[in-house]
């Protein structure tokens, strides 16, 4: 938790600094308060050099906010904008850090298996380092006391530490323990490394010891200092890999207690890693395309579809096998009864398929309410024979369902066999033709 410096603390400090009584300081502060409020009311703005700008902004509650009766919906709000100098002073701790463009491996969502493997590896390395650290501290307690951290060793990664520990045996390596200490950082080394040379800070170190970000700030190894940044980007990316999960932790890693340098081991469990892939828009797009395709297909291929559907529902007639030509000849030779039936059916089909409209009986001009079916009924006694009229006047009629008033229709002269209502075979064929032409 951050300490808050109260008004009374400030008064005591000012009285000490200016060598005046606290009452005088209180008087000063009260008057200053009054002046600032008055100027805010009149000018809506006040600039205090060294701090920033205080200004009143006209704002309002949200339109759905529930207010008490008589309470104003719109009112002034006090806003503060800090000066650049104050901003820099406050952000001194992180001023050396710079935004880093992540490598492709990290920018794309890393697979869960790879992350969990890394987590296990890091866990093992940490446990080994802790063991080594404990053993060497016990043996070489005197040497570690006079250790001064170096800047170059500060940005060492976990993988490098692992290599060093493996290469050299435990009692001989005083360097490894030192690097490990720098990696996890003692509170004193942090202040020296980050270069916060504030005399007041060191003097008041007791008061603000709880505020320093010492223990966890090793996580910011990923942010390379501005001077070194241009030299090698690759080394940064490798260090990111090891510290990527540490950074994911956010500011939870910056524990206030400087004494506890141990990492939270549960943090490295793969359960903490969440990977999300949002690609729903592709499915939505595909769905829309399919719907559009179906709609277009239905509009353009309607008659064909109708025919196809009707073919399913209509009864399938088993075609009667006609006798072969040789058989017919033999039958004719034998003068059998079957001869007549076969000959008639063949002739009928020939007549229907070779229908031609060369001669015409009459020409009719269409008035409102007159249909081709009515004309067919009038001339041949069945409404179904409108098909012949349509076929004879195909040049004049674009759509069989819509004939404009005033068009002249020629009525063809037909053979009697084409207009025989009692012939079921003919009527079926006419019905098929009607469906093909698409009359509603």
């Amino acid at each position: 938790m951050k300490t808050t410096v109260t008004k009374s603390d400030l008064i005591a400090k000012l009285a000490k600094r200016l060598d005046i009584s606290e009452e005088q300081v209180v008087n000063f502060i009260d008057k200053l308060n009054e002046l600032i409020l008055k100027s805010l009311e009149s000018d809506k703005k006040i600039i205090i050099n060294g701090l920033g700008i205080f200004k009143l902004v006209w704002g309002s509650y949200h339109k759905n906010a529930k207010l008490q009766a008589g309470a104003p919906r719109e009112f002034y709000k006090l806003k503060f904008e800090a000066e650049d100098g104050l901003k820099e002073l406050v952000n001194k701790e992180f001023a050396h850090l710079q935004a880093i463009e992540l490598s492709e491996e990290l920018s794309s969502n890393m697979p869960l298996d790879a992350l969990s493997k890394q987590a296990v590896e890091i866990k093992d390395v940490l446990s080994e380092i802790q063991d080594v650290k404990g053993a060497v501290e016990y043996s070489n307690a005197a040497t570690t006391e006079f250790y001064e951290p170096q800047k170059d060793n500060f940005s060492i990664t976990a993988t490098e530490v692992e290599q060093k520990t493996e290469d050299a045996p435990i009692p001989e390596t005083t360097e490894t323990t030192e690097t490990a200490q720098t990696y996890y950082q003692s509170p004193t080394s942090v202040t020296s490394d980050y270069g916060i040379s504030n005399s007041s800070y060191s003097a008041d170190n007791k008061d603000y010891s709880g505020l320093s970000y010492g223990s966890g700030s090793g996580n910011y190894d990923t942010y390379k200092p501005k001077e070194e940044f241009t030299e090698s980007n690759q080394s940064v990316n490798t260090s990111i890999k090891s510290d990527y999960e540490d950074n994911k932790r956010g500011f939870g890693g910056y524990s206030d207690s400087n004494e506890n340098n141990d990492f939270d081991k549960n943090y490295y469990s793969p359960d903490n890693v969440v990977i999300r892939k949002k690609k729903t828009w592709i499915w939505l797009l595909l769905g829309c395309l399919v719907i559009v395709a179906v709609a277009c297909g239905y509009l353009f291929m309607k008659p064909q579809v109708c025919k196809f559907v009707n073919s399913f529902f209509s009864k399938k007639e088993t075609p009667t096998e006609l006798p072969a030509v040789d058989e017919v000849d033999s039958l004719i030779a034998n003068d059998t009864v079957i001869y007549e039936d076969v000959a008639i059916s063949e002739i009928d089909t020939m007549f229907f398929e070779n229908r031609k409209y060369t001669e015409f009986i009459d020409t009719v001009t269409i008035s409102s309410g007159v249909t081709m079916a009515q004309l067919a009924d009038q001339y041949w006694g069945s409404r179904l024979f409108w098909v012949y009229i349509f076929e004879a006047n195909k040049d004049n009629i674009a759509n069989a369902n819509r004939i404009s008033v005033g068009t002249k229709l020629r009525i063809p002269k037909l053979d009697n066999r084409l207009t025989d209502k009692n012939d079921t075979r003919l009527m079926d064929k006419v019905k098929e033709l009607e469906i093909a032409l698409g009359k509603k």
Binding site: K7, L14, L89, A99
Partner: protein, 94 residues
Amino acid sequence: MDNKELISLLSKKTKTTQEKSKEFLNSFIEEITNYMANGANVEFLDLGIFENIVREQKIITNPKTQKKVLYPPKNVVDLKVAKPIKEYLKTIEK
């Protein structure tokens, strides 16, 4: 209003010299900034509390290039306005 005007008005109100009021104001601001630099929250008069807020590090995607950038943490100052002042400001008309 500038610091100059504020100093002259302050000297008039407290019936002291301008030098003294200037010294007071400068030391007052200096103390506050010192505390702020060390990461503490400071009570500023009756107006409210200057809060030292930490903006956490975050990964940002550049919308044009679709590349991800690790953005560093940052310390920011903000004024948390006191309740009586808020109520007082509601009485002021536009």
